[in-house]
C-alpha cells in the first residue's frame, strides 16, 4: 500500500545495476575490498553472529559442567578459560561489533547520506576489529607459546591484577588477551570517530540535529562514549604488556605496584561500556516501538536528553563495581548516589516507550515481540541494578550469581532481544526479503522462555550465596536444583538461537519479497530500494520533520506542523 507513494521523488538510484560479477571469487573479492558502509555493516553483523554462536557454545559447556555438583565434564583449567573467553568474546567481539553493524548500515541511510564520512577508515576499523578477534582465538592454538600446546586466557574478563602478572599467568594466553583488546580497541575508536563525523557533517537538507532519528542520535552518543572509555582501557592494556615484558611495575604488587589502579582503569572503561552495549538496544527499540504502535515517539526531546544524560552520568559511577575493595564510607556513599542517579534518565526512557505504545494500534510482529519483551526485562534489570547500587547489599550480592543474573538481564534481556528485533526489522531492507514470521514466533517464544528459566533462577542462586567463576560446588550447599534449572534454560535458548540461524538462511533464499517499505515505516532508509543501491540515494533527499515518510504518506496532516 505504501509503495504507491514511494520512493521520495528522485531519491532512488534508477541507473541500471552493473553486471554482476559471476564467480564466487569475484563476489568474495568485492566484500574484502569494499568500503561501502552497507557491506561493512553486514560484515560487522556476520562477525557478531559468528562470535555469538562461538561464545554461546562456550557457555553451554559451562552450564553442562554446573548442572550437577562435583561434575567432571570440564577440568577447572578449561572451565576458567571458557568463562574468560565467553565474557571477553561477548563484550568485545559481539557487543561492540553489533554497535557498528547497526550504526554503519543505518546511520547514513537514516540521515540521507551516501556513505560514512571516512569510508576507508571504516573498512580499516572493521578489519582491525576482526584481527583482534582472531588474535584472541589464536590463543587456543598458540597461547602456551613454547611451553606446550594450546591454552587460552583464564583470568576472567576483568583480568584483575596481579593475577595477570607473569608470576601467576605464565605463557602467552594473557598476552593474546591484552593484544586482542588493544587491536580491537583501535578498530572501535576508528568506528566511533566515523559515526560522529558522519552524523555531524553528512546530514541531508533539512535534517537538523533535533530531527535526527533516535537511532542515529543514540549511535552518536554511543560513539562519544566509546571514544572516552576505550582510551583508558587501551592505556591499561599497554601498561599490562609493559609489566609483563619490559619489567614495569604498574600493577605488580610484589614491587610496589597497585592492584587497585587496574580496577579503576578497567571500570572507568567497563561501566560506561555497559551503556555502550545497551545503547543500540535503546536505538532499535526507539525505531521499532513507534512503527509497530503506529505512533510518533512520545517525548522525542526528553529521549534525546535522557540518552545524553545517561552517557554523562555513566562516566561517574565506575567504582560501584568496587564496593568490596575497601573504599572509605564517604567514597562508597558517593558512588551509591551517582549510580542511583542513572535510574532517573533510564526511567524516563522506559516511560516514554510505554507512552508511545499508549493509545496506539500495536502490531505484534516478531520485531515488536522482542522489543516489548525488552521493555519488561529492562525494567527488571534496572531495578536489580538499583538493588546492587545499595552498597551494603552489594557487599552480599557482588561477585555472586545475582550479579550474573542482573547483567545478563541487560546483555541478553535487553541487548540480544533488541538485536533480534533489529535483525527481523531491517533484514527486509538489507536483503529484499522478509524473514519467516512463523519461525520468528517460534524463535521468540523459545528464547523468551529459555531466557526467563535461566536468568530469573540465577537471582535466587545469588541469594543462596553461590559465587560466580566457580567450576564446581559442594553437594551440601543446596544449589543443585536451581543450577539444573538454569542449565535447562540455557539449552532452550541454544535451541532458539538455532531456529533463528535456520530462519536467517531460509529467509535469505526463500523469504517473501519485501518491497521498499514492508512495515509502513517513517524514516529515510525505507524510501530507497531493498537492498539499497550503491550510494543509497541518487539525489539528496530533503526532510522537514523527524518522520519524512509520514509527511509523504499523510500530506493532509504532516508532522512538521507540530514539531
Amino acid at each position: 500500500m505504501a509503495d504507491q507513494i514511494l520512493p521520495i521523488h528522485g531519491s532512488l538510484d534508477l541507473t541500471p545495476p552493473r553486471e554482476r560479477e559471476s564467480t564466487w571469487l569475484d563476489e568474495l573479492h568485492s566484500w574484502v575490498i569494499t568500503v561501502d558502509h552497507k557491506k561493512l555493516g553486514l560484515m560487522y553483523m556476520m562477525m557478531a553472529i559468528f562470535f555469538l554462536l562461538v561464545a554461546g557454545a562456550e557457555v553451554l559447556c559451562i552450564r553442562i559442567q554446573l548442572a550437577v555438583p562435583n561434575n567432571h565434564f570440564l577440568s577447572p583449567q578449561v572451565f576458567n578459560r571458557m568463562f574468560t573467553m565467553h565474557g571477553t568474546t561477548m563484550v568485545f567481539l559481539v557487543g561492540i561489533p553489533l554497535v557498528f553493524a547497526f550504526a554503519n548500515y543505518l546511520v547514513p541511510l537514516q540521515i540521507g547520506a551516501r556513505d560514512m564520512a571516512f569510508p576507508r577508515l571504516n573498512a580499516f576499523s572493521f578489519w582491525l576489529t576482526l584481527l583482534g578477534g582472531l588474535l584472541l582465538y589464536y590463543s587456543f592454538l598458540g597461547g602456551a607459546g613454547l611451553y606446550g600446546m594450546g591454552n587460552a586466557p583464564d583470568v576472567t574478563w576483568w583480568a584483575y591484577a596481579p593475577l595477570t602478572a607473569k608470576a601467576f599467568s605464565p605463557g602467552h594466553a594473557t598476552d593474546y588477551w591484552a593484544l586482542a583488546l588493544i587491536v580491537a580497541g583501535f578498530g572501535t575508536l576508528g568506528g566511533a570517530i566515523n559515526v560522529i563525523a558522519t552524523a555531524f557533517s553528512l546530514r541531508c537538507k533539512g535534517m537538523t540535529l533535533m530531527r535526527m532519528p533516535l537511532l542515529t542520535w543514540l549511535m552518536v552518543v554511543d560513539s562519544g562514549l566509546l571514544l572516552v572509555t576505550i582510551t583508558p582501557l587501551t592505556a591499561a592494556q599497554i601498561m599490562l604488556v609493559i609489566d609483563r615484558y619490559l619489567g614495569g611495575h604498574f600493577f605488580d604488587t610484589q614491587a610496589g605496584g597497585s592492584a587497585l589502579i587496574w580496577m579503576h582503569f578497567f571500570w572507568i572503561f567497563g561501566h560506561p561500556e555497559v551503556y555502550v552495549l545497551v545503547f543500540p538496544a535503546f536505538a532499535i527499540a526507539s525505531e521499532v516501538i513507534p512503527v509497530f504502535s503506529r505512533k510518533a515517539i512520545f517525548g522525542y526531546p526528553a529521549m534525546v536528553a535522557a540518552s545524553v544524560g545517561i552517557a554523562f552520568v555513566s562516566l561517574g559511577v565506575w567504582a560501584h563495581h568496587m564496593f568490596t575493595v575497601g573504599m572509605t564510607s564517604v567514597g562508597n556513599a558517593f558512588f551509591v548516589l551517582s549510580t542511583m542517579l542513572v535510574g532517573i534518565p533510564t526511567g524516563i526512557k522506559i516511560f516514554n516507550w510505554v507512552a508511545t505504545m499508549w493509545g496506539g494500534k500495536i502490531r505484534f510482529r516478531t520485531p515488536m515481540l522482542f522489543a516489548t519483551a525488552f521493555l519488561g526485562q529492562f525494567l527488571l534489570a534496572g531495578l536489580t541494578g538499583i538493588m546492587l547500587s545499595v552498597a551494603p547489599w552489594n557487599w552480599q550480592l557482588h561477585g555472586s550469581y545475582f550479579v550474573i543474573a542482573h547483567f545478563h538481564y541487560i546483555l541478553v534481556g535487553a541487548i540480544v532481544f533488541n538485536t533480534f528485533a533489529g535483525i527481523y526489522y531491517w533484514f527486509p531492507k538489507a536483503t529484499g526479503r522478509m524473514m519467516n514470521e512463523k519461525l520468528g514466533k517460534w524463535h521468540f517464544w523459545l528464547f523468551f522462555i529459555g531466557f526467563h528459566v535461566t536468568f530469573d533462577t540465577m537471582h535466587f542462586l545469588g541469594f543462596e550465596g553461590m559465587p560466580r567463576w566457580i567450576y564446581t560446588y559442594p553437594a551440601d550447599r543446596g544449589w543443585m536444583s536451581l543450577n539444573m534449572i538454569v542449565s535447562i534454560g540455557g539449552m532452550i535458548q541454544g535451541v532458539a538461537v538455532l531456529v533463528f540461524a535456520y530462519n536467517l538462511i531460509w529467509s535469505l533464499f526463500k523469504g517473501e519479497k519485501a518491497g521498499n517499505d514492508p512495515w509502513d515505516a517513517w524514516t529515510l532508509e525505507w524510501s530507497t530500494a531493498s537492498p539499497p543501491p550503491d550510494y543509497n540515494f541518487a539525489t539528496d533527499p530533503a526532510v522537514r520533520s523527524r518522520r519524512p515518510l509520514w509527511d509523504l504518506k499523510h500530506p493532509e496532516d504532516p508532522d512538521w506542523k507540530y514539531e
Binding site: 542517579l341 516514554n352 500495536i362 551494603p392 552480599q396 566457580i470
Partner: protein
Amino acid sequence: MLPKWLRVGWIAQLVFASVLALSSHAIAEGPKSTPSIFSPASTPASEIYHLSFFVLEITGAIFLTVAGLLIYVIIRFRARGGDDDASEPAQIYGSTQVELAWTVIPVLIVVVLFLTTARVIFAIQDAPQPQAALDVTVVGHQFWWEYRYPKQGIVAANELHVPLSSVAHPSPTYLNLLSADVDHSFWVPQLAGKIDLIPMHPNELWIDPQRPGVYLGQCAQFCGVQHANMLLRVYVDTPEEFAAWVQNQAKPGVQDPAVAEGRRVFETQACMNCHTVQGTAATGKFGPDLTHLMSRDTLASGIIPNTKENLRQWIKNPDTYKPGSLMPAMQLTDSQLDQVTAYLETLK
C-alpha cells in the same frame, strides 16, 4: 501501615520462600547448609538483611506499577482484527507535564533510597572497635586461608574459630584482611557482606555472631585455577569452647615417639619447606600450619572431611581432590605415606 498481606516485603518473602522450597523439593538433595544472605546471624549481615527488604519493597512497588502499566498497554492497545487497518491512531508527540512528573517522582525515590543506604554504610563501616574485640589477621593464599591471632599467638588455617557474641556480653571479632599473592574475597553470607583481600591494601571486616554453629562461605573473587575450592568455614564457639580451643592451639605440636619415622619423612621429604609444625624444625610458611591439623574437621580448604584415608590420598596426590592446587605430589612410597599420615594423625 498497610495490612500485612498487602505489604510488598511480606509478599516478596513469601515468593522467595516458595521458590526456595520448590527448588529444594524439585530434586531430592541430601542434607544441606545453604549460606543464604536471608538467614543472618551477625549484626552486619542482619543490618543488610533489613535494608535489603526495605529496598525490595520500593523496587517491588515500582516493578508492579510499571509492569502492570505495560501489560495493560499490551492488552488494551494491540491491533485487533476488526480494526480498520488503514487508519492510523491519533499522533501524540509528548507532554511536558507528564515528563516532569516521571522525572520528579524518581528523584524523590532516589533521595529516600540514598539516605537509607548511607545510614547503613556508616553504621557498619565506621563502627568503632570495642576494647574487648578479638583481632584476627586473615591472609588469603592461592587456594587456602591463613588465620593469625596476634594477641593469642596462634596460627590456624582454613577453619576460623571465633567466640559467640551476645547483647549482654558483646565480643565481636575484627578481621584484618591481607593477601599473600593475588586478589581474594572473604564471604560468609550469614555473618557479613564480603570484602576483598588485595595485596598491599589491608582491609577490615567485623562480625559478632549471635548463634553458635558452623557458617559456610567461600572465596568470592577469582584467584586462579582452584578458586572454586577455596572454601570458608567459620566456627562460632561458646566462650568456654573458644577458650579451650585457644588453649589447645597455643600448645606446640605433639611429639609422639611412636611416629618418629613419620616425622622423619615429614622433615626430610620437603614437607617442612612449606608447612610449619610448632616445636619442630618444620617452619615453612608457604602452606597451612599443621601444628594442630587434627583439630580441624576438613582438609584442603574445606573440601573433604579430615579422615585418615582422605589425608593419605591428599598427601599422595593432591590433584585427586584439587587439580591445580599448589601442593605437589611428592612421589612418596606406600610405607612413607603410611608413616607420614600416622605422624600427622597425632597432631591434635
